[in-house]
């Protein structure tokens, strides 16, 4: 027992109290029914049509949100690489600044902007464009999710791209590579670790962001997170809620295992 492991004491206690014990409780609930008898029914319930449907919608939404985040993040990151030190830290600050405000407040603001009588439609009418009924749609929900998680994607990719030696890019240019070739043959392959950790950080929370679904989609779309929330809060079927959570956890762990297998050092050095 050296001194260093002593210092991890508080964290270990924290983990036991807030991760290990709750997880055991969830597992216990998931494997029992209302009378306390052992059952697999709560786990298998994921394959009921209602739950499968919500799961499919969740995966779809999470997939498209992740793709949009990647498409938005790369151009910005490449532009950032060319900036000076001041420009870089300034951009990062602007990116992280909104995260100092609670995300529910930001979503409520976004909801007002997108609402039928909101700022966006007001601007449209000034420009003589027809109004858009974006509020309470899947599009609005995805805007909310992308808005929430984009910074994680940008920062993860940026960490990898910033590590790429400028000499390599210059060498490629010397040998006659155009911008596209440089991107696809150098920047993209070398930033895969950051990209993968970005995908994990965006895809996984997108799938379960039930608050975003409630606020932005007006209660019309059920992600798997909404169903679990409903089981716990309204229906009071904690057993079914736990069963679905366990299956969701397995799904998430599988997808993380898949991405981190290719990712030796997770590229989390520069900012976090």
């Amino acid at each position: 027992m050296n001194k260093r492991s002593l210092w991890s004491g508080p964290y270990i206690l924290w983990m036991i109290g807030f991760t290990v014990i709750p997880f055991c409780m969830i597992l216990h609930y998931a494997l029992t029914d209302r009378d306390g008898a052992f059952t697999f029914r709560n786990l298998l319930a994921m394959f009921e049509p209602v739950h499968l449907k919500a799961m499919t919608v969740s995966v779809e939404v999470a997939f498209f949100c992740t793709v949009i985040c990647i498409l938005l993040a790369y151009p910005l990151v490449i532009a950032m690489k060319r900036l000076g030190l001041f420009g870089k830290s300034y951009t990062i600050l602007v990116l992280i600044l909104p995260m100092w405000i609670n995300f529910i407040l930001r979503l409520l603001a976004l909801q007002m902007i997108l609402s039928n009588n909101g700022v966006l439609n007001h601007i449209f009418s000034i420009l003589g464009l027809p109004p858009h009924e974006l509020a309470n749609t899947r599009t609005a929900m995805m805007i909310g999710i992308v808005y929430d998680y984009l910074p994680y994607m940008i920062v993860s990719i940026y960490n990898s791209v910033a590590d790429i030696d400028d000499d390599i890019i210059e060498a490629a240019r010397d040998l006659g590579a155009g911008s596209l070739t440089v991107f696809f043959r150098i920047i993209l392959p070398l930033s895969v670790p950051g990209l993968l950790s970005g995908i994990v950080m965006v895809f996984v929370p997108s799938m379960t962001s039930f608050v975003t679904a409630n606020i932005m989609a007006g209660g019309k779309i059920q992600l798997i997170g909404n169903i679990i929330e409903q089981e716990f809060i309204t229906t009071m079927d904690w057993h079914l809620g736990s069963g679905l959570s366990v299956i969701l956890m397995i799904f998430v762990l599988l997808s993380m295992a898949f991405t981190s297998r290719n990712d030796p050092d997770y590229g989390m050095s520069k900012i976090w």
Binding site: G9, L13, V50, G218, G219, Q222, D237
Partner: protein
């Protein structure tokens, strides 16, 4: 090794002492109150604390179901709680409320007897709950945007206002609307009737702008929607906030609800709890709460001093005929509740 042991013991002590002071405080001269959100003027709590010296710990929940879940989890021991009739019925059946004698309240005579009678459907001997507020569920609409009068649930189903109306995002209220539209009882346990209501709601879903709870009124005030299903008090408030917003009770009838306070079985200091209930029906406190909440009040002093505008409002002062056309929720048997939960999940996933 020894050092590590000391650190761990120290931390366990630290954590348990934090937990302990949480428990100890509850035993002192205090009372823990559980209520819906925005359902009591903080001023009343202040008056009560100042005059009696009893400290009030006040907790809120948005819906009856969430209130029940939070109560049942047992994390906090509540002394008195306020919820709606069908949830009170469930709590009474489960033995969660204790019998009290409301005739010992100094201000008992300020509570209209007919409101204790309303409670008899779930509390036959009036020994568990004290009426707090009551009201109806109806349609709030924007007079300038609707075509003609609104006095029926049908406007929410006939496609006339597609994309312009808001439904309640709470299970029983959503099915109540459909069941009334079909002419069935809101307490039906008939599976065929519920499935018919489900079909109606599924057909309606593409036309629904959103399913909300407390924000329905705000969306109408902001002009984002034309009609919305709301509770009567919100209906009155919306009319105050913006002219042209009108609350109506559809002619097919609706849900009549009554929210009451009860004393929980865990309450140690019943005297304090009763003192608190007594304050709620004292003339001045009842008035402050009424002005804050604007639902129909069961307290005679409030009813007598209402303004003409309040008296004329069907939200605050519905006529006897309207009341007779309404139904009070009763707690459904477990199998019907399970069916409703499944149907609701299916509807929302559609």
């Amino acid at each position: 090794m020894k050092k590590k042991f000391v650190v761990v013991v120290f931390m366990v002590l630290l954590m348990s002492s934090c937990l302990m002071c949480g428990c100890n405080k509850a035993d002192e001269n205090s009372i823990t109150v559980f209520n819906y959100g925005m359902y009591m003027d903080p001023e009343v709590l202040k008056i009560f604390e100042e005059e009696t010296g009893i400290k009030v710990k006040y907790e809120e929940a948005p819906t009856p179901e969430e209130l029940y879940t939070k109560y049942k989890s047992g994390a906090v021991k509540y002394d008195v709680l306020c919820t709606s009739e069908y949830m009170l019925q469930r709590l009474i059946n489960e033995g969660e409320l204790q019998e009290v004698d409301f005739s010992t309240l100094k201000n008992r005579d300020n509570i209209g007897d007919e409101y204790f009678d309303m409670c008899k459907s779930f509390d036959p001997d009036n020994k568990y709950v004290m009426p707090y507020f009551w009201g109806t569920v109806g349609i709030l609409y924007d007079k300038e945007k609707v075509h003609g009068d609104v006095d029926t649930w049908d406007v929410l189903f006939n496609g006339e206002y597609a994309g312009e109306f808001i439904m309640q995002n709470s299970m029983r209220d959503a099915y109540m609307v459909a069941l009334k539209q079909l002419g069935y009882s809101i307490n039906t346990t008939n599976e065929a009737e519920l499935r018919e209501a489900q079909e109606l709601l599924i057909d309606q879903k593409p036309d629904v702008q959103s399913y909300l709870v407390d924000e329905v009124k705000d969306e109408l005030v902001a002009g984002n929607a034309t009609l919305g299903v709301v509770y009567s008090g919100e209906g009155y408030y919306a009319g105050e906030e913006r002219e042209g917003l009108v609350y109506c009770i559809p002619r097919e009838g609706t849900n009549l609800w009554i929210d009451c306070f009860g004393v929980t079985k865990d309450c140690k200091n019943v005297d304090n709890a009763m003192k608190f209930l007594d304050y709620l029906c004292r003339e001045d406190c009842a008035k402050i709460n009424f002005d804050y909440v604007k639902y129909a009040s069961p307290y005679l002093s409030v009813i007598e001093t209402m303004t003409d505008k309040e008296k004329a409002s069907s939200a605050i002062n519905p006529s006897k005929e309207i009341i007779n056309n309404c139904e009070i929720y009763v707690q459904l048997p477990q199998e019907t509740t399970d069916l409703l939960n499944a149907l609701w999940k299916e509807l929302k996933a559609e």
